[in-house]
Symmetry: C2
Subunit: 460 residues, 2 copies
Amino acid sequence: MTEQSKGRLVVVGGDAAGMSAASQAKRRYPDMEVVVLEKDQYISYAACGMPYMVSGVVRDADDLFALRIEDAINKRKLDVRLGHEVLSIDPADKKVRFRIAETGLTDDISYDACVIATGAEPIVPPVPGSDLEGVLVLRSYGSGLAVRKYVDQHAPQAGVVVGAGLVGLEMAEALTLRGVKTTVLEMAPGPILGLVPELSRVIEEELASHGVTLLFQTALERVEGVDGRVREVHGGSETFPAGLVLLSVGVKPASALARAAGVDLGVRGAIHVDERAATSVPGLFSAGDCAEQVHGITGKPVFIPQALSANRQGRVAGANAAALIVGKEMTETNPPAYGTIVTKVFDKAVALAGLTLLEAQRAGFDADVVVIKSRSKAHYYPDATPLHVALVFEKGTGRVLGGQLVGSPDAVKRIDVVVTAMSAGLDLEQLSRLDLAYAPPFAPVWDPLLVAANVGKKKI
Amino acid sequence: MTEQSKGRLVVVGGDAAGMSAASQAKRRYPDMEVVVLEKDQYISYAACGMPYMVSGVVRDADDLFALRIEDAINKRKLDVRLGHEVLSIDPADKKVRFRIAETGLTDDISYDACVIATGAEPIVPPVPGSDLEGVLVLRSYGSGLAVRKYVDQHAPQAGVVVGAGLVGLEMAEALTLRGVKTTVLEMAPGPILGLVPELSRVIEEELASHGVTLLFQTALERVEGVDGRVREVHGGSETFPAGLVLLSVGVKPASALARAAGVDLGVRGAIHVDERAATSVPGLFSAGDCAEQVHGITGKPVFIPQALSANRQGRVAGANAAALIVGKEMTETNPPAYGTIVTKVFDKAVALAGLTLLEAQRAGFDADVVVIKSRSKAHYYPDATPLHVALVFEKGTGRVLGGQLVGSPDAVKRIDVVVTAMSAGLDLEQLSRLDLAYAPPFAPVWDPLLVAANVGKKKI
């Protein structure tokens, strides 16, 4: 795989996708010059771990780094430049213009190929008071540290989380564990978009039983403060005292730099890439939360910012960009995305993959859903807990289009079976025939997924 | 599905396969007379739960019943006759001859179709002393109760388990939990046939750390006793004091009744059945631990006695036998078997599916295996534990032929992803592209299965 090669790859952004791209290029072509320009002072942090860093479950914030800067430079031989903010990309001259934070000076660097891995940025709802001290978001490592520090310093008695998606629920748990009485405001009628009501209820009850107040169909109206710091939140005609507000209403792709360079944007403003992670502009590649993916069920572009796909797309972009530089064929391709998510909510967990019923119907499928309740273990085994399964399928063919699981944290990783089944195009009949593992400490004789498939196939 | 129908289905054996067959037939044809002849005094017990009943993890032995006899009779309307031992089946006259334990009388019952679900029986090594009191096996519910009662009454200080397969290891744990210092004798060079050495070592260390002595390549020679009760075990030129001996060297199909009725036997003496669970003799079907299955990878008949397949085959046999009686097409088919197993060994667990490397090579595959060590959760998340993965694959194509996992009990159910991949014919490249679930409490960003596939695909 490795061989003599020359040329320079410039990677914009040093998080999961960027560092994966850089590392992959250097691994394949050790003689290639690989430069990573990162505007912040750190690389490769585990964004998904930040709620646990805030809660204190993860004690040492430094543990969140997947790759130490010294190792990136000394072991992987990457030219990583921290505090280098890219200002523009000039595809005609194949140059990247950047500003160095330390000196304030700007400079150019030429490239033979460039990977744009600028990630995503939190959406801040345009409401009055969103700029008050104590109104926080969770995205960058710095923002995570800021939340933890704010809780440490101010020990707010009450807090409001805006948005009941994954991060919102994780932060509701984290804040509760830190002693903050937490209210979650969500505009949708339930937590985690598309979760079927039976499963949603379990998550809602789990949050309520830990003292979290959930308010659905409730829009954030404004935040009010005293001396520039948050004091209360107004939403849904109510007022909530809040020493802290955490905004988690979603993220948007950080694609302004790419757009200014003439790169085509796609769905929801994400950078449009082909299967090889190439953008519409020759020599420019993109990977990670700023880039589109292709959905495995619909075959259509989607914006699903996720850690695994960022790592994967980074490898693909890095390998192909490097191949382009040395004049080799670009052989790597991005796998399709199934939007697989899993998260813990106190002592319960929820996992989803594929399409929700509404998404399936909107995508043109004649779809239905089967919902069952089973157990995580044999009924007589200690600590057997309820496990709820929903499978979305296509009427007529029985093709599996989506899956949802809610139960104890040790039980929901089964979503991966649904992902595998969808990736292979299996239908409910085929799913129902799988020889899944059974022993009393691990499952009932009929695994809950088999029960769901067995019940579902009668509705095909 | 239900309709008017007449005729009589006789089911021989009232455990998982037999009761599944009977229930399925009655559900589809409520007017059909469904008779179950069971030689013991109970039905539908969870054999796999018995080690946990012996250990005391499951306190109430009655919990092991999946279906109460009253419910079978009153709710499911099955004519279940306990203490009815079938002596012979006469396919020419379509009659079954049985003896009633209570009275000692024999009688005949005619059938329109018959399902043979006689199960398997433990192999007792032909060594001197195997008939001593305190030399026990674990198979029937009665045998499980007997082991528990023996430990209750005699509180043996030391015990010997013969055989380090699943049941042997589960019983080593169970006896240890009951305070019995346990030695396991195994003729093979390691526990659980075909487990790769790296994974085997973890299980061996786990057993050793809980005080279990494991002796491999050690044959049981004889058992010696005092006053008819076991006192010591001789094996591998050593002597082991033993107040209890548990024989767990495997099971054989209970197929003598079928053979005497003229039914063709197949692999390892199991009853040969076609895909519809029909035997070679018209009107006779078979399901469960007495019957063959077809292996999903090799397509060849195998003897893999397992709870899930017994339930499944029972449903197929019951549905098809009933269809035959009413003159309908037999539409149900047995799914292929992948030999999926999972078990807990103290605080570790092991799961296997598909072929081991040796089995793959013997089946004619140019096979190889990749073995990796990863973690059950993100490296910074509390209680992240080592997770070992082995994937057996075909050289050239990369087709997945088998999988093995050893790690904490919450991590090894991932074997089901391997089962699904094998069932769909996926190769390592396809496995490596799956969008498996990630969040810090559930997996590293790259799930250990993806790591194994990524490493393995370089060896294809």
